[in-house]
């Protein structure tokens, strides 16, 4: 099963689609699967899928074209990148620094390695 039962399914759906937009697998103005097809394909309650897609519309990631379906907003990728940048330090960098400290990695060593990776 692709979706786990440990967090709200609608949020897992939204996150999957966001990740596809971020990776470029879904491009701007590209049509996404209909909610019914999505529900049948992933074996998920249609109302749950609707809720996820509606949230993506509210967030400006998807837009609706009446009678045709849902599409990726041209600015979706930029919007998501900006949003993820905001939480990157709290989600990724702060825990990393805490873990490094806990096992005795000095900050200069960490910074040096980050610089190395940046040059590669």
């Amino acid at each position: 099963m692709v979706f786990d039962d440990r967090s709200p399914i609608y949020r897992q759906i939204a996150e999957r689609i966001e990740n596809e937009v971020l990776s470029g697998a879904l491009a701007g103005d590209e049509q996404v699967m209909s909610t019914n097809k999505y529900a049948a394909f992933h074996r998920i309650n249609p109302a749950t899928v609707n809720k996820a897609f509606q949230q993506l519309v509210d967030d400006g990631i998807l837009y609706k074209r009446r009678g045709i379906g849902m599409f990726v907003s041209p600015k979706a990728r930029e919007t998501l990148r900006a949003r993820r940048r905001k939480t990157f330090f709290a989600d990724v960098v702060e825990p990393m620094v805490a873990r490094a400290k806990a096992i005795g990695i000095e900050l200069p060593e960490l910074v040096a390695r980050i610089n190395e990776l940046g040059e590669e």
């Binding site: 099963m1 039962d5 967090s7 399914i9 049948a40 074996r43 309650n45 249609p46 109302a47 809720k51």
Partner: protein
């Protein structure tokens, strides 16, 4: 769209109270999961919903009409029990299907035929000669092809192998998308079907423990773990469903909305907050009894 209104429902069998003061309402063509341990009262509740049993107290109204001894109310509901035991065992599959077709206003005969074929149920055999799994498949066929506004599957997966169960889930989803209606599924295979539920009802010892949106439930449970003292200082104000201690470490399963403030407090204290699966939450919520 069908409205189900259950008010203060009680059912007594001799000295046993099978259901006590159960009230809930369902509307909006949802797929609803009915969960409960053995003997919690699931089958009794579903039998009353379908008009097969008379409630001792309280009432069931479907679209405002009572169901017991009320043809119009009963016609709206199709209950499929276990391995299709509501069907006549001495008749052939073909006869049972014909009979169901005559009883059900919304019956789709062509669809019933397709389902029998995909489940590989032979039409010529008598029902009693079928394996438990094939009888379940026959019951599922009747439930789906009935297109009843309230379609109820009471442990209708009994004896079905995994591929056939997934055939059932896929057929159910496709059919409710094409023909929206209220579906109630009672099951012990929670992990397998939970993504199909919009709502969840949990019965425990004859009482309705909760009626909640499935995603809200997934969000409501969490496991808090870390230093025992820190865990203890974090849990007041939350409903603690279970605790485990190992030396100085402790893990508590809590139920209730964890807002951002509380989450931040846990992070700051160095506590781990992990989500818990719907099935684990169900186990914790219903394991208090002495069954």
């Amino acid at each position: 769209m069908t409205d189900i209104e259950v008010t203060n429902l009680g059912k007594r069998f001799g000295a046993t109270e099978a259901l006590r003061d159960v009230s809930f309402s369902l509307s909006g063509n949802k797929i609803c999961g009915l969960l409960g341990r053995n003997g919690a009262g699931k089958t009794t509740l579903l039998s009353i919903l379908a008009g097969y049993k008379r409630p001792s107290t309280g009432a069931v109204l479907i679209d405002g009409e009572p169901v017991f001894e009320h043809a119009a109310g009963m016609a709206r509901t199709c209950l499929v029990r276990g391995a299709g035991d509501a069907t006549v065992p001495t008749r052939s599959v073909r006869d049972v299907i014909d009979l169901a077709g005559r009883l059900r206003a919304g019956w789709d005969d062509e669809y019933a035929g397709e389902l029998l074929e995909s489940f590989e149920v032979p039409r010529d055999k008598k029902v009693k000669a079928l394996s438990q799994g094939k009888r379940s498949a026959l019951g599922i066929t009747i439930g789906l092809a009935s297109r009843a506004p309230v379609t109820i599957f009471d442990e209708s997966y009994l004896g079905l192998d995994a591929p056939s169960r997934y055939t059932f889930y896929d057929a159910l989803l496709a059919d409710v998308l094409a023909h929206p209606r209220t579906v109630i599924i009672s099951t012990h295979l929670i992990e397998e079907v939970a993504t199909l539920f919009e709502d969840v009802l949990i019965l425990d010892d004859g009482r309705l423990l909760l009626h909640e949106d499935a995603d809200t439930l997934r969000e409501a449970g969490a496991a808090v773990s870390g230093d025992a003292e820190l865990v203890d200082s974090f849990t007041p104000g939350l409903r603690v469903l279970g605790e485990k201690t190992l030396g100085r470490a402790k893990s508590a399963t809590v139920y209730g909305p964890l807002d951002d403030e509380r989450r931040a407090r846990a992070r700051a204290a160095g506590l781990d907050l992990d989500p818990i699966a719907l099935q684990d939450l169900f186990v914790h919520l219903t394991s208090g009894g002495s069954r």
